[in-house]
Point group: C2
Chain length 660, copies 2
């Protein structure tokens, strides 16, 4: 059993593709982690921006979260419609490309790709940061821990989406379950106490405010809260991962994610207000997250408290997994359209797009190493990509419905089309406005970087596409036109008469009556005794005489000087002469090759054939082909006439063996 | 002008080999540095062993050096005879192989190779140690300085032996000149003062003795003194570097080296005794070498003192250069005989054996890095190899003369043959005795390591030889036997109909009437729409119909399932089937290859052909050859029938382009 078998599992056949598909239960874990885990940081990000208000911060928290949830629900209905309209995979790329244009599609794809990569780096480092704050002894291991999580995610995803969904299902559902319990108990207590419950463990007092409420503060708080929405796109991008009927499974998954996210966000925010929980400064001693304070207030510092915080920590580091589901599928789509190398479109041994997974791992790994596992500064870049893609997708859907509305061939009631147009139109306006707010609010903190990176990647991808298009037009072939039917002239570089050459020569004579053996003289300096005369005698005796007897066209032996001991140059010069002498004929350079079976054998044979092959292919004319005739060490296919072999001379043996 | 041109100079033609040859003047610098520089450490090594005797140490110093010089002079006459008897290069390897046997030859070669490598590492580190003791600020740079000297030596020697001789001639002759002046002035002063001259700068007093004179001490002192002889072999090993008449130039070089070495050694030792100079402990503050004390005593601390010490320092680090002349030539000889890979026998662009030079650099570099630039502990290993080689060479020469003496065909007087036998016989006994003393005296200090390494290298080289011999006997070919004259069956893996395939197919049809195109279905998973039907239609239209019209045998199109998306496996299975169906015919796998011109183009084309070529060559039967038909991006050789080309579909273009 090979190592790759142990690591990745057996190779899957195409017909097993169905077995790798997932339903809503695994889908929630494979695609929902990013979205759901944002409960752990979305409200906190909002509240942190508001904290200069002091205790008054809890006032605007609920309406701002309400606004975020409103955008989320608009997005939900928009994406339901998108899934229905594009059941084969309706990410922003497809929708924007089909309805706005290829440029818009590529822009959406670029934005999403950036966001996916950032999500991996930021997700993993946030998870490890939480772990390190719980166990400060691990502090020096931050980067190795980040890379270890990255390696685990890569490995699990290379095994297949289904496996990833199943493996990550346990922590995901534990996370959802424990948080729901906290929200439920907290709500029950609050209702029982008439809105004024007593905290089991009282949260720290909120310090006095230093600022007053203003529009800019509200907008910044809203922009921070919007990070909670970044994972919503994953489902419509990952349609191809779902079981038949894909539409139903995808819609169920989306509903579950958005439903749970809404309940948890609303619950956490409302209970935080009721229990008067503030966002603490991470640099203060005794720092606790909002969820830590809330859980302690509702259930106290028991086993359940630690279980809840433990699952939050695991889910945060695994939230990167959503990218591993979405990114490779996105790359596959744009690779099929020619924006990325073909390798991204080829399913690996487990039917996932391994190239995309490895590229994502590489990019995220570089980010983690470059920032030493602390990617905090990347958070402001986050969400720009997602909201740019949302806006393009929603605009695309709106255009889609408007076109359908004006198309007399489309059946269905105009009213329902108009309703759809309204939903996506509102979606486009809401996400566009959110994008503008996010960009403005976070521009100085780092969002400006995305304004540079997205166009650069866009240009790179367009360049690749142009290259493939040009190649494609050059390669387009019409009907075959076979006029020059003469066989090629076959040239064989040889150094002596041995069984390699014997076999190569027979192969050449089967192909063409015009065979020329070329011997390069003085390849090893003039000091070494002249072997060219020996070869000439041997050639006359072992090749010319027997072939004449058989009536076969006799190959000629050409001996060329190589005064500078170069292999390729004299051969290429001879090829050029031959081409000029025979302008209509193709030329084949036949190379006898000794096939080695062990790595140490390669050390004992200078690898001149590979070099020669590369040089000839690169510099020669279009009419020159290469023919390789292998000779295996245990090759007994042509038993030589041993009686003709001379007694061996030890001092000469080396020269009889290994130049080919 | 390329980088290699600047570094190494222009490529030299074989006919320029004469111009690279050297005479005695350059020969002394190229081959004498190791021997001559030993004046700087030989007497000191002897005296250091004797120092426990205190001031009495100077007593035995002169007779011990006399014994060393006696062995040296025996060696000189022996090697004069060897040069005359083997004018094409008479190192220990050649002499021992010819007169004792191949095993003895290889043993001598192994011993010498080890010594050459040690000489590089020890010579460079000793030179840098002298520099560092003069300028302690450089201490932390020891290893980088060692590696820099190694790099300079490598570069200069890759430029050619003549260049190395010329470049190193200046420091060599400065060294000889200044030391001769010191010896001459010292001797004149001593004579003028009746044997009791007054030192200009008095040497430090010699501490009182703690031991008494014994045989073991004398033997150890003698063994240490023998290191002065290690470079003598270089001349007879490097015969091929000399101008015609080689024998005369070689003999002159040898005479100059041994003569100068004798004068300098004797002068230094006698003057040291007269001026009462002792060997100081290197760890003591104010440490000075014997030569430093002697020069100061003779000429005082003037400019000349610093000039003399400066040349000693340079020559010590350059003494490694002797290895760069001897080692590659030795490797070339044993590579010609099959004990080393062929690459060691091929002259590089400047007609030196670059492989040997680079191997020497690599081994010495590893030693320097492993010992952090301080290779003191390797010094006891030194000289064992040289004296093993000397003994084998002298024994070989003695056997040579004995055989000649008993051979009636050999002309010349029996008396002169007997004299030659006597010289080499005495040489064999003297060097053999010295070897025994060195091994015994230094065994515990590290000479035991050579007893392990030499047999291991010996076994490795014999193993290489056996491999080549077996290969050679397998490769020996008799007269060609050409019975199966049918052309091969040509298989072409294709993915679509394009100009790559168009060109490949024409090439194939020129070679054989039996051409089969193979299309692998579902290489990219079942999700991608079925292209096999499209290809079938295109094939009928663009290939079958036109070829039928022309009356050409129509190639068949076979479509194979590749359920696991593998490229090689289904093709190899098909090859095996074809072989069984046609047991007498050869098979050629023809691969259309897109030739890229830039590195970034390679990123855009999956390199599947190279992989396929390797796999097929490795696992397939002996009857399968590979044919590569290149297609350049600007290939216009076959203008397609553009009228037949369909309008391009952007979403499909990628699949039309890049799998080959």
């Amino acid at each position: 059993m090979s190592l790759s078998h142990v690591l990745f599992g057996r190779r899957l056949a195409n017909r097993e593709a169905k077995g790798t598909k997932i339903g809503a239960v695994a889908g929630l874990a494979a695609m929902g982690l990013d979205g759901l885990s944002s409960v752990a940081y979305g409200p906190e990000a909002t509240l942190t921006v508001l904290m200069p208000l002091g205790a008054l911060a809890l006032g605007p928290l609920v309406p701002i979260t309400g606004a975020v949830l409103a955008v989320l629900i608009v997005l939900y209905f928009s994406y339901r419609q998108t899934i229905a309209a594009y059941p084969k995979g309706g990410g922003s790329y497809t929708v924007a490309q089909a309805n706005i244009g290829p440029g818009a599609g590529l822009l959406a794809a670029t934005a999403l790709m950036l966001d996916y990569v950032l999500n991996v780096a930021v997700g993993i480092s946030a998870g490890i940061a939480a772990l390190v704050s719980a166990a400060p002894a691990l502090q020096p291991l931050t980067l190795p821990l980040c890379l270890a999580v990255l390696a685990i995610l890569t490995l699990v995803n290379l095994r297949g989406t289904r496996e990833a969904g199943l493996i990550f299902a346990v922590p995901t559902y534990l996370f959802i379950g424990t948080l729901l319990v906290v929200v439920a108990i907290g709500t029950a207590k609050a209702l029982a106490a008439g809105g004024h419950p007593v905290a089991v463990v009282a949260p720290p007092a909120i310090p006095a405010g230093t600022a007053t409420l203003g529009l800019w503060l509200l907008l910044r708080a809203f922009a921070s809260g919007c990070t909670a929405m970044t994972g919503v796109e994953a489902v419509s991008n990952g349609m191809s991962a779902f079981k038949e009927p894909t539409e139903r499974h995808a819609r169920r998954t989306l509903t579950a994610i958005v439903g749970l996210l809404t309940v948890l966000l609303a619950g956490v925010v409302v209970l935080s207000r009721i229990y008067r929980i503030g966002a603490m400064d991470q640099t203060d001693p005794g720092y606790q997250t909002m969820l830590s304070q809330l859980t302690a207030a509702v259930v106290g510092h028991g086993v359940f408290y630690y279980a809840t915080l433990g699952t939050i920590l695991v889910v945060l580091s695994l939230s990167a997994n959503t990218s591993f589901t979405g990114f490779p599928r996105l790359c596959q789509m744009i690779a099929v359209d020619g924006y990325l190398p073909r390798a991204f479109a080829i399913p690996g041994r487990r039917l996932v797009y391994s190239a995309g997974i490895l590229f994502l791992t590489g990019s995220a790994g570089i980010l983690l190493v470059a920032f030493d596992g602390i990617t905090d500064r990347l958070i402001p870049l986050f969400a720009v990509g997602a909201f740019l893609a949302f806006t393009l997708s929603q605009t695309g859907m709106a255009l889609h419905w408007r076109q359908a509305l004006h198309d007399p061939k489309v059946s269905g009631s105009r009213g329902s089309l108009r309703a759809s147009l309204a939903v996506n139109g509102v979606g486009a306006i809401a996400t566009g406005a959110a994008l503008a707010i996010i960009l403005a609010a976070k521009f100085v903190e780092g969002a400006w970087i995305t304004v540079i990176i997205i166009p650069l990647v866009f240009l790179l991808l367009s360049g690749i596409k142009r290259y493939y298009d040009r190649l494609s037009s050059r390669l387009r072939a019409g009907r075959i036109d076979f006029t020059d039917r003469e066989p090629p002239i076959v040239l064989i570089p040889i150094e002596r008469w041995d069984r390699l050459v014997d076999k190569a020569l027979k192969f050449a004579l089967q192909l063409s009556p015009d065979v020329i053996a070329i011997h390069l003289i003085a390849l090893e300096g003039d000091d070494v005794e002249d072997r060219s005369a020996i070869l000439r005698r041997r050639w006359a005796d072992a090749v010319e005489a027997p072939l004449k007897q058989l009536g076969v066209p006799v190959p000629s032996l050409v001996q060329l000087q190589s005064p500078y001991r170069q292999l390729a140059e004299p051969l290429i010069a001879f090829i050029r002469e031959t081409e000029q002498a025979h302008p209509k004929r193709a030329i084949a350079m036949l190379l006898p090759v000794l096939v080695t079976q062990h790595w140490w054998e390669r050390l004992l044979h200078p690898n001149r054939t590979t070099m020669l092959q590369k040089t000839v292919l690169k510099v020669c004319d279009r009419r020159v082909g290469i023919i390789i005739v292998p000779w295996h060490l245990d090759d007994q296919s042509a038993d030589p006439d041993r009686s003709g072999a001379r007694p061996s001379n030890p001092a000469r043996r080396l020269h009889d063996t290994i130049t080919h």
